[in-house]
Symmetry: C2
Subunit: 153 residues, 2 copies
């Protein structure tokens, strides 16, 4: 049984439409990427694939993540640590992130008001918005959340 049928169908359509080739490596990256429940880095994904005896190269992983972002199966996120984080965005609602600067724990939240502000500011300044990034940084009040502390990582 196939693992991520809907996403694969979507990706196939995208590749065809954009005249990119359908290669097994690209779907291998898709599979490993969607196996993450949360955020991951490009290199982290590459390492994980290597450990699972995959033969894909760094170049292919980085290239494919870019394609998956273009067709909106994945989304890029930046949490201020100078690396690109990816997350599945396939069939997911827009959301933003709250990051604990002590334990690194990331909580997702949704607020309708944010897109309104984006539109409002953009109109005011004569700008065509294509996206935004909103992160809140701080500390878990509940010490249980901060148990990730020694988690290695």
């Amino acid at each position: 049984m196939e693992k991520h049928p809907k996403a694969k169908e979507e990706f196939t359509g995208f590749l065809r439409q954009q005249k990119h080739r359908i290669t097994p490596e690209r779907f291998e990256v898709l599979d490993f990427a969607l196996d993450y429940d949360d955020h991951f880095g490009a290199d982290e994904l590459y390492i994980k694939m290597k450990m699972n005896k995959s033969n894909v190269s760094r170049a292919t992983v980085y290239n494919t993540l870019e394609l998956l972002t273009q067709c909106e199966i994945l989304a890029k996120r930046h949490f201020g640590d100078n690396k690109t984080h990816y997350e599945a965005s396939f069939n997911r609602k827009n959301h933003d992130h709250l990051i604990c600067t002590t334990c690194g724990h990331i909580t997702e939240f949704r607020s309708e008001k944010i897109q309104k502000i984006v539109d409002e500011i953009s109109t005011e300044l004569g700008f065509t918005p294509s996206g935004y990034s909103f992160n809140i940084f701080g500390f878990c009040k509940d010490k249980n959340h901060c148990s990730h502390f020694d988690d290695n990582g």
Copy 2:
């Protein structure tokens, strides 16, 4: 005549209070940093100082920028290009950024509503906020803004 007297006073106070030493290198970094009108990167600042025959090392530049951020003379910004941007925050009001993904031009804006959302979400999720990051990405409607296009960069 001294160049950034207020900031220097502030920095001196901070260093004393935190039991860090007062060194000429740290004030040299401060001077070069405040000479920027807009955002700059750590390495960029280091290169600029080198070209101006300064003798400071990378380690000192990075270290000092961290200290200047701690005492809020500078602020770190992340615009999604995997490098840390710094800007002067001394005596400046809070603001956020609107980034043209075509020409790279950055426009600042202010909206009181954003902090309210931060507080609202944080309360709701049991989180103590220490800061936030809000960037809008898109395209200058006015083609004149996009003249930065060939600007080198």
